[in-house]
């Protein structure tokens, strides 16, 4: 995984219904947890909606539904 200095687009930047592909994870510590539940580089990811208060997010990753907090979703770095 090579680092770039340009602005990284994250899962939190997605708008509802918008899809993308996971490039990598921003935190080494959390990356294996993402992997375990089936979110890994090259997985498709779509934001479905935000929860009440806007601090939780409902995603479809490879067509499976997940709830992440915004802090967690911010570690998901997108391809485009």
């Amino acid at each position: 995984m090579k680092e770039s200095n340009t602005h990284k687009r994250r899962a939190t930047d997605l708008k509802p219904k918008e899809s993308s592909v996971i490039l990598k994870f921003g935190s080494e510590e959390m990356s294996s947890q993402f992997l375990e539940i089936g979110c890994r580089p090259k997985s498709s990811i779509q934001l479905i909606r935000k929860g009440p208060g806007g601090k939780t997010m409902y995603f479809l990753v490879n067509s499976h539904a997940f709830a992440f907090r915004t802090e967690e979703a911010a570690h998901i770095i997108l391809k485009y």
Partner: protein, 704 residues
């Protein structure tokens, strides 16, 4: 075979939501027992399974986990069970349940377990759902590629489960080949660990290196040696975990590509459609509140019919026993001690059953994780986790299972706060106390043409409990410091039709645990109480009886009236009376007399004992028809002032006390078990009871 030692030990393992419990219930039915894993607090659900050769296997349902890198105490069990080869729980064979709908991810953990070399059988579950979404799996090819037997099952209908037995017999003692070569990950360290612990398996050594700090079977000295090794060999645990799981996916992916056939394009699933409303910030929250309302309505309204029946039945039984048994001490002990105690237990069964049915129904259909998603933001403001909502809701039935359900919260601070505040939520044991006292203090009338005033006050009491819970959580959030990362990161499973057999087995088990745990205490307390109320120091009671009879002999009392006066005087001189009088000065400012004092003392064992204590105090020795107890309480006057004991001020003060005080030995015991020390239960006892005392004092002094 025959003895437990010789039975084949099978561990049932899988990811969360793989349908493991359905399969477990299918295989073992009601032949299940709930025990403990040695040294840890997680419940161990085991069941016997008859093998085709006439022998028995003992299947243990292990907690669902995504990998062997655990994030919560629940998940750690799976790792510990597999790593501790000499432990009593180490399996002879693993049945691995995977959801065919999301196979690649579900097989990651399977490949980890395969690397231990333990005999393993893969059960492909939920193929019906996969098929309906246009996916088919070629299980023969899968079996060849993985090198282990694959059985198609349907945990919900039981289809295919009959094929499991023969495969188990085939595989017994047949170790599988490792899936991934883990040697290159940390070669030197693996060799050192193997030497140190006498392991032969590379993966066992690697996992020990990753997890040694949290493994019970590793001594402090070995931990020190491991610390040294790990730092000397610059072992990067976090990075290697990622690399290992990534390597597993890389190896699995081509197999899956060939094995899983998609016959249909993804279209919007039923789950996605339902979630549009159910997880909508506004409508979803509203539906969640409505769901909570229905739960409480069910506990109050629906449960009252079976409860009335039980109440009537017990009264009848006690009266019948009194008529049949010869009068005397033994008869009194059986009716007022034992039967009254049993009555105090069975009366809760309807409410607890209804609540457990509803909570497991919500879990079974997949709604509970949506409730967690909806409430996480709010819960975090109070230092809790979205998952705390499950505990808080369950707390309305009983704090004991509620506190056990906090194990899924991986952050220690959030889990501790949840454990600490859950007992503030009014459990079903408080309902009878509330019901009696509200009936005393609040007139039974309708306000606003719609609401029953007593019902509103009841609601208010529940609300007070919720406010106390959230308020205390907020204070703890400010006090406690934690470096642990808090996270939600949760799968939202697809909605499923409830499978009633699962729900009924869960409910029967949980109610059973309640009856045996809480029931034992209630029964013992009732019996102790009867002894305390029936005997006094020396010849005290005999003297009191003689004295009273002589004193009142000249006055024109009927025999019954005289008996009641004697009974009241005797209880005052009994051990219970002496105890109650000793604490009277402390509780007098709250408006309580020594009789309430006795009830308070016994209520520290379990709140529900309050009513049975009052019943015992007011009926022991008298001719004791049960319904007159309430009437007696209503007429009770303070001996010194002649004022009524049960004024609204006393009743409200007592209500506030019962909402807030920690009065449950079972809860304290479970908190001790879950936190591994008496510190938290002790603080809980002092804090909750102190808060109860202060607020009751204020209530009584204002209303008086």
């Amino acid at each position: 075979m025959g003895s437990d030692e010789q039975n084949l030990k099978i561990a049932l393992i899988g990811n969360p939501n793989a349908g493991k419990t359905s399969v477990f219930n299918r295989l073992t039915g009601l032949n299940q027992t709930v025990g403990n894993f040695p040294g840890v607090t997680v419940d161990k659900k085991s069941g016997t399974y008859p093998l085709p050769d006439g022998n028995k296997a003992v299947i243990t349902d292990l907690p669902g986990t995504y990998s062997l890198y655990p994030n919560s105490s629940d998940e750690r069990i799976v790792l510990e069970t597999l790593l501790n080869q000499d432990g009593s729980s180490y399996p002879d064979l693993v049945l691995y349940v995977a959801d065919a709908n999301n196979l690649e991810r579900h097989l990651v953990l399977l490949t980890q377990i395969m690397d231990f070399g333990v005999p393993i059988v893969l059960l492909l579950n939920m193929l019906d759902v996969a098929n309906s979404e246009g996916k088919t799996v070629d299980e023969n090819q899968l079996s060849i590629k993985l090198g282990i037997p694959v059985v198609k099952v349907n945990g919900r209908t039981g289809e295919g489960t009959e094929a499991i037995g023969p495969v188990i017999l085939q595989m017994e003692g047949v170790n599988c080949d490792p899936f991934l070569n883990v040697e290159p990950f940390a070669y030197e360290l693996e060799q050192e660990v193997k030497k140190m612990f006498g392991f032969t398996n590379n993966y066992r050594a690697l996992l020990t290196a990753h997890n040694y700090k949290n493994l019970d079977f590793i001594s402090a000295a070995d931990t020190g040696r491991m610390d040294h090794l790990v730092s000397e060999l610059k072992f990067n645990s976090v990075g290697l975990q990622f690399d290992e799981i990534m390597a597993r996916y890389d190896q699995l992916h081509p197999i899956m590509e060939a094995m899983v056939v998609h016959t249909k394009e993804d279209d919007e699933t039923k789950t996605a459609k339902a979630d549009k409303i159910l997880t909508h910030p506004f409508w979803g929250s509203l539906i969640f509140l409505a769901t909570l309302f229905v739960i409480f309505q069910a506990i109050f309204a629906w449960a009252s019919y079976p409860m009335d029946l039980i109440d009537g039945g017990m009264t009848w039984l006690i009266d019948a026993a009194k008529n049949v048994l010869p009068a005397g001490l033994l008869s009194d002990f059986i009716t007022d001690g034992i039967l009254a105690g049993i009555g105090g237990i069975v009366i809760f069964i309807p409410q607890i059953t209804i609540l457990f049915i509803l909570v497991s129904l919500l879990e079974e259909v997949g709604y509970m994780s949506r409730a967690v998603f909806l409430s996480d933001t709010l819960m975090r403001k109070f230092g809790l986790n979205g998952r705390s909502i499950v505990s808080l809701i369950s707390g309305a039935a009983c704090a004991v299972p509620a506190i056990m359900s906090t194990r899924t919260i991986s952050n220690w601070k959030e889990r501790l706060i949840t454990i600490f505040v859950t007992p503030f939520i009014s459990c079903s044991a408080r309902i009878p106390v509330f019901a009696v006292l509200v009936a005393f203090a609040v007139p039974d009338k309708t306000v606003g043409g719609l609401f029953n005033l007593q019902g509103l006050v009841m609601m208010g009491l529940y609300l007070l409990g919720v406010i106390a819970a959230l308020g205390s959580a907020w204070v703890m959030k400010k006090i406690l410091k934690s470096k642990d990362r808090s996270f939600l990161m949760m799968e939202l499973p697809t909605y499923k039709m409830p499978y009633w057999k699962n729900i009924s087995i869960t409910v029967v088990q949980k109610v059973g645990v309640f009856i045996t745990n809480a029931g034992k205490i209630i029964l013992i307390i009732s019996m102790i109480l009867w002894v305390l109320a029936s005997f006094g120091p020396g010849d005290n009671l005999k003297n009191i009886e003689e004295q009273t009879r002589t004193e009142y002999a000249q006055q024109s009392f009927s025999d019954t009236e005289l008996d009641n006066i004697v009974a009241a005087k005797k209880i005052e001189g009994s051990y219970a009376g002496i105890l109650g009088k000793q604490i009277e000065p402390a509780i007098k400012p709250l408006g309580f007399d020594w009789k309430i004092g006795i009830a308070l003392i016994t209520s520290f064992a379990a709140r529900e004992v309050f009513i049975s204590t009052m019943a015992t105090i007011y009926s022991v020795g008298s001719d004791g028809d049960a319904e007159s107890v309430m009437e007696k309480m209503r007429q009770e006057r303070h001996a010194d002032t002649g004022e009524l004991v049960y004024t609204s001020a006393t009743a409200f003060s007592l209500l506030i006390f019962y909402v807030l005080a920690m009065q449950c030995m079972s809860t304290l015991a479970i908190v001790k078990r879950e936190t591994n020390s008496w510190t938290i239960p002790f603080i809980q006892l002092v804090y909750m009871t102190g808060l109860a005392y202060i607020l009751s004092l204020i209530t009584y002094q204002i209303l008086q």
